[in-house]
Symmetry: C2
Subunit: 205 residues, 2 copies
């Protein structure tokens, strides 16, 4: 049994309400869902945005292939079913982060509108903000960048079902933000996103 | 294209390091893994602990049946395979929260040592603290509490494979903390946990 007196412990029965958590954590939570072609610059923008938010004193965390595909979703392959489940799980985890009053940033191609809409619905049903950010980039620019050499492999037929080559990318039609990385710098992409968050009351001016 | 100047945006190539994140967020992350019988008091302690940490100005978030079983893990049943996958996913998500510099609290029976050890290994491999908290309670006390009427149903044979009745609970042998809720108040349980975190340099004195 504990010997220490614990008179300074504050708690009540039941869950912490969203309002209470926002006050205690000092910020609101939201999911910033980045979608776009491989090579569109999603990860670069997501990485810079996460850092900018952290430097503003805001909690932010990025979910991407590195920390999700090799962890939570390591038992998923690339079948249509597994791809949908991949995005479903990412949506659920992002929602938990948003619920914890973190600004969650997801960075996945997420090519199908139905999967993205599923993630959006999860958030909306829970009253959590979902901001879809279409990281737009012409295919030819993304293919020319080809940072991981994946387009080359897809063109050579070494990768099947590659988004933009032999699998469709369904462009968002209701994204909260569209950032064309062929004409926008990383800094401006981050600035636009932060401006959106401020304009919509998600972070303080 | 953005018109605003973005000269105040701080970022660098590559991921935010753990050290950098801890400085920016102002705290370390860890997973506090509560394990114990149904009715042991895990959720009550987890709920009070989360609130106490939040009131101390620390980010904390609780993963439990309510926000995980009905969300991320809603496509899992109660077969041996699905139970293992349930705990695996919880371990992976807790790890992400710990990596984000949050104090993640998980509150699941997690009856099998192998599953708990799997979650521990995930954290250890990533250099993230994993604190197993055995919320201990004699079966007869838990069964007498029976807050959800589950023991009654299990005894009546209406629930099969219920931990402690017709499925084993493998007691932790290497838990960082053991809290006997038949002799310890909720406040003392929270105080003991916070003392552990302070003593081990996970939160500031």
């Amino acid at each position: 049994m504990a010997e220490q007196k614990a008179t300074n412990i504050t708690w009540h029965e039941g869950d912490v309400t969203t309002d209470e958590r926002q006050k205690l954590v000092g910020q609101k939570g939201a999911t910033l869902w980045m979608t776009g072609l491989s090579g569109s610059g999603k990860s670069t923008v997501a990485c810079a945005l996460e850092q900018a938010l952290l430097h503003m004193g805001l909690n932010s965390y990025r979910l991407d292939g590195d920390n999700v595909r090799h962890g939570l979703n390591k038992n998923l392959g690339f079948s249509a079913e597994d791809r949908a489940e991949n995005i479903r799980r990412i949506g659920e985890v992002a929602k938990l982060f948003a619920d914890s009053c973190c600004l969650a940033i997801t960075s996945f191609i997420s090519p199908y509108a139905a999967d993205r809409d599923g993630a959006r619905k999860l958030h909306e049903d829970a009253g959590l903000p979902f901001i879809e950010i279409y990281v737009k980039c012409p295919l030819e620019v993304a293919e020319q960048r080809d940072p991981k050499g994946l387009y080359k492999k897809a063109r050579a037929g070494e990768i099947k079902g590659f988004t933009g080559i032999d699998d469709p990318y369904e462009e968002p039609t209701n994204a909260e933000l569209v950032i064309d990385t062929s004409t926008t710098s990383v800094e401006d992409a981050v600035a636009q996103t932060i401006a959106y968050l401020k304009d919509n009351g998600l972070i303080n001016q």
